[in-house]
């Protein structure tokens, strides 16, 4: 439609005529709203945006976005996206996936995409449960979790998704939550800005099968105490009065109270480019019920520059073309030919 070409796009332009079918109150709504808000600000023509998902509640996402999209099969969105990005580097490719989709059935493709560093954006909707199949535990569910498939409590030890991403040499690792629209938008922007595979974990409430899984981090009453928002170049501070911080004691992060003789200068200064510190940061993953636990960090943990797979692939092709013309007759003929009269 002509007017959408001239007028700047709005969130509405990214909505579709399809009825959104998530349960009322599901965290996915907020994520959809923030993505629709952010998309028009990116300056990317709508036709160049492709959203690829796997299977799960979260993976319904593409149907609600007026871009190109594919709702693929369980666990394989990352692999579909790899092929698309490899062959069409100019497209803006977004992957929407769940904790089961990307870390259980599709775990293999996730780590391989990260190490190859395709320039794509992975939005991992982590609700620590299998939503679509009605509430079995997932690879991010906590130990002892009672679900339909674990009536006596889960004996699986969960993944720490960001530590896993670091282990797979991801070049952008970040965490945000559905209940903090501002932070979510900021993280979406950062995710998009990063050139390379961006891994954004979004804590998402499944109010039907795992309600309140992240409430310690999202509820007003506890959020300030229990979360730590990372900002580049700034000290790691948290607390209701912003009176606490993290300090590195050797390799060990320690909570200190700023009013007890410590100054802000003693604090760990966040540096997204520092791979060693990022590894420690992602390892801050304490159970909030645990005595003496550390706050859960949110924000960009790590960002690095590394050539993207599709770029290097394109370079190899350009290089090969420059060195050897694409002469089909020459190829078919080869160099050992005989002729029969």
């Amino acid at each position: 439609m002509a007017e959408t070409l001239t007028a700047p796009l709005t969130a509405k332009d990214f909505a579709t005529d399809q009825e959104v079918r998530w349960c009322p109150g599901c965290g996915d709504y907020s994520i959809l709203a923030q993505v629709q808000k952010v998309m028009p600000t990116l300056g990317i023509p709508r036709e160049n945006i492709v959203i690829i998902s796997g299977i799960g509640c979260s993976s319904r996402f593409p149907y609600y976005m007026n871009t190109y999209g594919m709702h693929s099969i369980h666990g394989r969105a990352t692999a579909v996206a790899s092929g698309l990005k490899a062959s069409r580097p100019e497209l803006s490719v977004w992957i929407v996936t769940g904790d089961g989709d990307s870390l259980s059935i599709g775990g293999n493709h996730t780590i391989h995409l990260l190490r190859r560093n395709f320039d794509v954006n992975i939005l991992l909707f982590n609700n620590q449960i299998y939503g679509l199949t009605k509430g079995q535990y997932s690879p991010t569910s906590e130990e002892n979790k009672v679900t339909k498939s674990t009536p006596f409590g889960s004996i699986d030890h969960p993944f720490n998704p960001l530590a896993l991403a670091m282990g797979a040499d991801a070049t952008f690792v970040a965490r945000t939550m559905d209940r903090d629209p501002k932070h979510l938008q900021a993280m979406l922007l950062r995710t998009n800005q990063h050139k390379g595979a961006s891994f954004l974990e979004i804590y998402q409430n499944c109010n039907i099968f795992n309600d309140g899984a992240f409430e310690t981090f999202t509820e007003k009453s506890s959020k300030a105490q229990e979360t730590l928002f990372l900002e580049q170049g700034k000290p790691l501070r948290f607390g209701a009065a912003n009176d606490k911080g993290l300090k590195l004691d050797g390799f060990n992060p320690k909570v200190i109270n700023l009013d007890e003789g410590h100054s802000a200068d003693d604090l760990w200064i966040h540096d997204e480019k520092d791979i060693y510190k990022a590894q420690i940061l992602t390892r801050i993953f304490d159970d909030p019920k645990m005595e003496g636990h550390l706050p859960r960090p949110f924000g960009v943990f790590y960002e690095a520059d590394r050539p993207c797979y599709e770029e290097v692939m394109a370079l190899q092709i350009e290089d090969a073309k420059a060195r050897k013309a694409a002469d089909l007759d020459k190829l078919l003929r080869g160099n050992e030919v005989w002729t029969i009269a």
Binding site: E47, G83, A86
Partner: protein
Amino acid sequence: MIRKQEVLNDVVIKFAGDSGDGMQLTGTQFTNNTALLGIDLSTFPDFPAEIRAPLGTLPGVSGFQLRFSSDRVYTPGDACDVLVAMNAAALKVNLTAIKKGGKIIVNTDGFDSKNLRLANYPEGENPLENDSLSNYEVIKMDVTKMTREALKEFSMGMKEKDRAKNMFVLGFLYWMYGRDMDNTLTFLKDKFGKKQDIFDSNVKVLQAGYNYGDTTEAFGTTYKVEKAKMQAGSYRSMMGNQAISYGLIAASQKSGLPLFLGSYPITPASDILHELARHKNFGVRTFQAEDEIAAITSAIGAAYGGSLGVTTTSGPGMALKAEAMGLAVMLEIPLIIIDVQRGGPSTGLPTKTEQSDLLQAYYGRNGECPMPVVSASTPADCFDAVYEAVRISVQHMTPVIFLSDGYIANGAEPWKFPKAEDLPPIHLKFKTELGDGEEKLQPYLRDEKLARPWAIPGTPGLEHRIGGLEKQNVTGNISYEPENHQLMVKIRQEKVDKIANYIAEQKIDNGPEKGKILVLGWGSTYGAIKSAVAELLAQGHPVAHAHLRHVRPFPKNLGDIIKNYDKVLIPEINNGQLIKIIRDVYFVDAKGYNKIMGIPITKTELVEVIKEML
């Protein structure tokens, strides 16, 4: 010395040795040399399953069979006229495959007590020293010793020197068949040009082998096979996997679609990945994925983006790709799935051939999930057949399964290669804008072939969503309506069935249009059936041969053809797969002949089988 030269019509040579003896290379060199003379030929390499089975043992034997003739040949031959045995194990494994009175060229150094023991000969027994080979003409040469002798001026180590042994044998055979050695000299130059001493030593040993034949009085005769009477034109030697690769590149060039291959290595399909990876100058993108599922789904992603998406594998990989094939069927997107079949189930017989997966290709997916199936019947036929598979896929908006097998993959034959401009065009159009009165794209609006539009990301105004959930016809919206599902299942089937209107009618390859027996085949049984039927026709029997390229859908006239014969015989290298489908579709009481040994059916056995039915 004046020697007799005898003219022969048809020769089968088998080169056999340890997998480290370089027999594949020797065979390939002799093959190319033969081809360049315009002699018709067919080859069959026979690899051990292990990369390096213990030296000198029976499982470690690697073979390369070559048949060449001044007549047209369609198989590598049932039995050998000449066996080259580099060691005792190679002799033992291949003894039954030599014709009575045939020649055995042995490397005597490979028959010392250690080699005899490794080949499980009883203590104290040496086949070269008793009369067990009295039915054959045995030519004994100490290849190892003569190779070392030829290289005595060279400073390289003994192990390095021994590596040139195969060149001695090759040189000797070049002498025996009156050849010049130019192609091998060029090959060695390309391969070792930068390592002068290795190049020199190989050439030296090659010449030593030639001279040995030439100067040794023991060998009175050389042999000559004349050019075959083949269609005029330019030829080259072609192997199956190479032909698939070239066919894909050609289809990519002619259709204008960039080629994307997603693949995970597996025998005997890996060579397609290797070959395509070399041709980046044609814009070919090869992606060695983390597994077969990523291989096919990445190809789906690329196809969605407007590439010619291809994935290559063998049986076990096909099993892993099944769910994604279903996605491609739902997306109604072009995709080529190549299965180079091998013995199964499970890991089965990785290096042996079998027509193992026809039923898997037909039925091996969840839901009603029809896909066209195209098969190749000879190494060179892979080129045309895969080109045809691409045409069907992009013009009918459907994934297509392409079946080859280990025998075709590694076999070679002369190929009258086409000119690029003579290749049929592959017409296709992306959808680039909304049609008259269209408010938004209708992704499942169909044309007369029932094909839907291919609208790729990056096209303004055609943004749309597709996926694996059932789609409403025309709009592509998710739909759980009972009537719609039935409609879509029927449409997807009809779309595949309709392809029969767009493919060539089935031809009788050889024999009368009506008669007593129709031998109906598909895939790599082509040569054996062709040769057997030709022999029976020459004897005056009313037998005919038809060979399928299109196994799904069948050509429209296949049913009529079948009715023209009293009996139908379907030989297959499996436990009876095509026969089930033919019986199901045409209600015909077809008979099967099934060999499931990981090796091809021979002409001789097939002649017997057909005769019994006459």
